[in-house]
C-alpha cells in the first residue's frame, strides 16, 4: 500500500465509522485531491461530506473550527503548509485558544491535514517545512506520520482527540509503498525507535526519517551503530523517549527539514541539554535546511535540504572520525 493510499484508507474508514466526519478543502472532491489522496471519495460519500471549498483558507479553516464546536468532526485539508499561512490566524487565534479563552467551556475537535516539505523543485513559496513553527503553539497537537503505518493509523486517534490536531504529510512520501496492518491502533503521544543503536541517536521526523535510516545503514558498514528515533509527535514532544535514547548513546544528531535557526531541532537539542547534559559525550548536532529560501535549480535544492550524506558526515564528526 502506498502512503497516499494509506491516508485515503484512513479517511474512508473514519467517514464510514462516524457520520460526523467530513473532509473539506481545496480540490478534495472533483479533482480527487491535489495529491490524489481523496480520489474516489466524492463518488463514495457525496458532496456534503467531501466538500470542495473556494480558495479561502481562512474561511474554511474557521468553518472547520465552528463545525467542530457545533458537533461535527471535520477534517480540514489545507493543500500545503505553504498556504496554511493564510489560515494561521484561525489556527492560532481560534483553534488553539478557544478552550483556554472560554475557561474550558468549549473545545475544538478539529483535524487539519497539510502536505509539507520541499524537494520537488517547486521553489521558495511551495517548499516550506513549517512543522516547527506550529509545534511552538500551545493548544494544538502536531503529528508527523513518517511511515505508511502511521499514515494509516494516526488519523483515528487524531479524530478522537477533543482538541485540534495538525497532521503534516511530507509530499515526497505519498508514493512510498510498504506493508500496513490496517487493524492496529497507534497512539499520538509517543516517539518510536525505528532502529536500535548504541553509538549515536539520530532524531528526526516526517520526510527525513528515510534519510536517517539510510544514514544509519551506511554508518553500520563503518561499525557505527546509530539509533534512529522517529519523533512522530512534534507537539508535545516525547521528551522521555529522546532522553532515554541519548542517555544510552551519549550523542545526538537531529535531522529537521526546517531552516536551522529557531528550528524544531533547536528545541530538541535544548531538551537534551536540559535533561541529559551529564551523559553527553559531545555537543548535540543538527542537520537542517540551509538558511535560504528553497531554490528551484535541482542541485541547489538538493544542497539546501538535509541529505543522507550530511547526516553521515555529522555523525562521523561527532565521533571524531
Amino acid at each position: 500500500m502506498s502512503y497516499r493510499e494509506a491516508v485515503r484508507a484512513a479517511i474512508r474508514e473514519a467517514m464510514q465509522r462516524d457520520p460526523r466526519v467530513f473532509l473539506m478543502g481545496e480540490d478534495v472532491g472533483h479533482y480527487g485531491g491535489c495529491y490524489a489522496v481523496s480520489k474516489g471519495l466524492l463518488e463514495e460519500f457525496g458532496p456534503e461530506r467531501i466538500r470542495d471549498t473556494p480558495l479561502s483558507e481562512s474561511a474554511f479553516t474557521g468553518a472547520g473550527i465552528g463545525a467542530a464546536m457545533g458537533g461535527m468532526r471535520p477534517i480540514v485539508e489545507v493543500m500545503t503548509c505553504n498556504f496554511s499561512l493564510l489560515s494561521l490566524d484561525q489556527i492560532m487565534n481560534n483553534a488553539a485558544t478557544i478552550r483556554h479563552m472560554s475557561g474550558g467551556q468549549f473545545n475544538v475537535p478539529l483535524v487539519i491535514r497539510m502536505a509539507t516539505g520541499g524537494g520537488r523543485q517547486l521553489a521558495a513559496q511551495h517548499s516550506h517545512s513549517l512543522e516547527g513553527w506550529y509545534a511552538h503553539i500551545p493548544g494544538i497537537r502536531v503529528l508527523a506520520p513518517a511511515t505508511i503505518q502511521d499514515a494509516r493509523s494516526m488519523l483515528a486517534p487524531a479524530l478522537k482527540d477533543p482538541d485540534p490536531v495538525l497532521i503534516f504529510e511530507n509530499a515526497l512520501l505519498y508514493n512510498a509503498t510498504g506493508e500496513v496492518d490496517e487493524t492496529v491502533s497507534v497512539d499520538i503521544d509517543s516517539a518510536a525507535v525505528r532502529r536500535e543503536g548504541t553509538d549515536v541517536s539520530l532524531i528526526t521526523y516526517g520526510g527525513s526519517l528515510w534519510k536517517a535510516m539510510q544514514a544509519a545503514e551506511e554508518l553500520a558498514s563503518e561499525s557505527i551503530a546509530a539509533e534512529v528515533l522517529d519523533l512522530r509527535v512534534l507537539r508535545p514532544l516525547d521528551e522521555r523517549a529522546i532522553l532515554t535514547s541519548v542517555s544510552k548513546t551519549r550523542r545526538a544528531v537531529i535531522v529537521d527539514e526546517g531552516w536551522r535557526s529557531g528550528s524544531l531541532a533547536a528545541e530538541v537539542i535544548t531538551r537534551i541539554v536540559e535533561g541529559a547534559f551529564w551523559d553527553l559525550d559531545g555537543p548535540p548536532a543538527r542537520v537542517c535546511s540551509a538558511e535560504v529560501p528553497i531554490p528551484y535549480a535541482r542541485h541547489l535544492e538538493e544542497a539546501a535540504l538535509p541529505s543522507t550524506d550530511q547526516i553521515v558526515a555529522a555523525v562521523r564528526h561527532l565521533l571524531g572520525k
Binding site: F22, E48, R51, T53, P54, S56, S58, A59, F60, T61, G62, A63, G64, I65, G66, A67, A68, M69, G70, G71, M72, P74, D89, Q90, N93, N94, I98, R99, H100, M101, S102, G103, G104, Q105, F106, N107, P138, G139, R141, D161, P162, D163, D189
Partner: protein, 328 residues
C-alpha cells in the same frame, strides 16, 4: 422583504427598554471601574449601540448560536449570560464566565451558546459559518448570528466567509454594526464602497440596512431575516447603521471625530427615543422607566459586589485548559 409586524405591547416595550437600560448601565459602570483599575486591559463599550444587540436577539431562540466581537458585553447580557458572571470575568476572577481567562474581549458561555468574544476583527465570521455548517449538516433548524463591525468588511475573512455562506446556503445571519469608525479610521477612508450591505448583495446574499438606533426597526428586520434563514433560504445580511457615543476603547482621545458629530448622534440615543415613543404611544409610563432604572442599578451593583467578592484562580492551575486532561 415584507416585514412581519413586531408586537409592541406593554410587556414587550418594557422588555426592550429594560434590556437596553441594562446594557447602558452596565457599560457605564465598567467605564467607572476601569478608571479605578478594577478592570484592566482593553475595554470597548457599547454605549449608543444598544438597539442593535437588543433588537437582533429578539429574533433568536435558545438553541441558536451567537458569535460576537470584543465589544460584546451588551450582546452577552441580552443573550442571557448572567451580569454577575460577566462582571466577574471583567475583574479576572475565576467566577467569571470564562473563568477569568478571557477578560472583556473573550466572554464565552456554553449555556446560552455564546461563542465569544473575539479580538481579531473579522476572525469570528469563519467560525460562525462553521457553526452554521454543523447545524445544516446535522439537520438542525438553528440559526447562527454573527455580529461584527463595518471594519471587518475590509478583511479578507469577511469576503471569504460571505462567499462560502452563500455558496453553501448556510443558516447565518450576518449583522454588521456600522458605527462609521474602525477604531480611528472613518468608513470613507477605508472603503471604496461604503454601502456595506451592497457588498453582501454582491455575494448573492439577501441584505438590507436598517436604522441601528431604532430598536424596533432592528427587531423587525432581524425577525424577518431569521424566519427566512430557518426556512432554508440561506444566509442573510443586516447592516445596522449605528454610532458609539464613547471612544473606541478607554484610551482613545477621539482625535478622529468632532464633538459636534457625537452630539448629533447622542440626540438619537436609542434608549431615549424608544422610551419617548413608548410613553407617547401610551404603552409605558415614565414611572415604569424609573422602576427599570432602579432594578438595573441594583442588578449592576450586585454584579459588582459579586465580582469584588470573587476569587483568583490559583496560580498552580496556570496550565489548565490548554488541552483536555490526558490519561497518560
Amino acid at each position: 422583504m415584507t416585514r412581519p409586524k413586531v408586537r409592541l405591547d406593554r410587556s414587550h416595550c418594557l422588555e426592550l427598554l429594560r434590556q437596553m437600560a441594562r446594557i447602558r448601565r452596565f457599560e457605564e459602570k465598567c467605564a467607572e471601574l476601569y478608571t479605578q483599575e478594577k478592570i484592566r486591559g482593553f475595554l470597548h463599550l457599547y454605549i449608543g449601540e444598544e438597539a442593535v444587540a437588543v433588537g437582533a436577539m429578539q429574533a433568536l431562540s435558545p438553541d441558536d448560536a451567537v458569535v460576537a466581537t470584543y465589544r460584546e458585553h451588551g450582546h452577552a447580557l441580552v443573550r442571557g449570560v448572567p451580569a454577575k458572571a460577566i462582571m466577574a470575568e471583567m475583574y479576572g476572577k475565576q467566577e467569571g464566565c470564562s473563568r477569568g481567562r478571557g477578560g472583556s474581549m473573550h466572554l464565552f458561555h456554553a449555556g446560552t451558546r455564546f461563542f465569544g468574544g473575539n479580538a481579531i476583527v473579522g476572525g469570528g465570521l469563519p467560525v460562525a459559518i462553521g457553526l452554521a455548517l454543523a447545524d445544516k449538516m446535522a439537520g438542525r433548524a438553528n440559526v447562527t448570528v454573527c455580529f461584527f463591525g463595518e471594519g471587518a468588511a475590509a478583511e479578507g475573512e469577511f469576503h471569504e466567509s460571505l462567499n462560502l455562506a452563500a455558496l453553501w446556503k448556510l443558516p447565518v445571519l450576518f449583522v454588521c454594526e456600522n458605527n462609521l469608525y474602525a477604531m480611528g479610521t472613518a468608513l470613507e477612508l477605508s472603503e471604496s464602497e461604503t454601502d456595506i450591505h451592497a457588498k453582501a448583495a454582491c455575494y448573492r446574499i439577501a441584505s438590507e440596512w436598517v436604522d441601528g438606533m431604532n430598536v424596533v426597526d432592528v427587531e423587525a428586520a432581524a425577525r424577518c431575516a431569521v424566519a427566512a434563514i430557518r426556512a432554508g433560504e440561506g444566509p442573510h445580511f443586516l447592516e445596522c447603521r449605528t454610532y458609539r457615543f464613547r471612544a473606541h476603547s478607554m484610551f482613545d482621545p477621539q482625535l478622529y471625530r468632532t464633538q459636534a458629530e457625537v452630539d448629533t448622534w447622542i440626540k438619537r440615543d436609542p434608549i431615549t427615543r424608544f422610551r419617548e415613543w413608548a410613553v407617547a404611544a401610551g404603552e409605558i409610563r415614565q414611572e415604569d422607566f424609573v422602576a427599570i432604572e432602579g432594578e438595573v442599578e441594583k442588578e449592576v451593583a450586585e454584579a459588582v459586589a459579586f465580582a469584588e467578592a470573587g476569587s483568583w484562580e490559583p496560580v498552580e492551575d496556570l496550565l489548565k485548559d490548554v488541552g483536555a486532561e490526558r490519561r497518560t
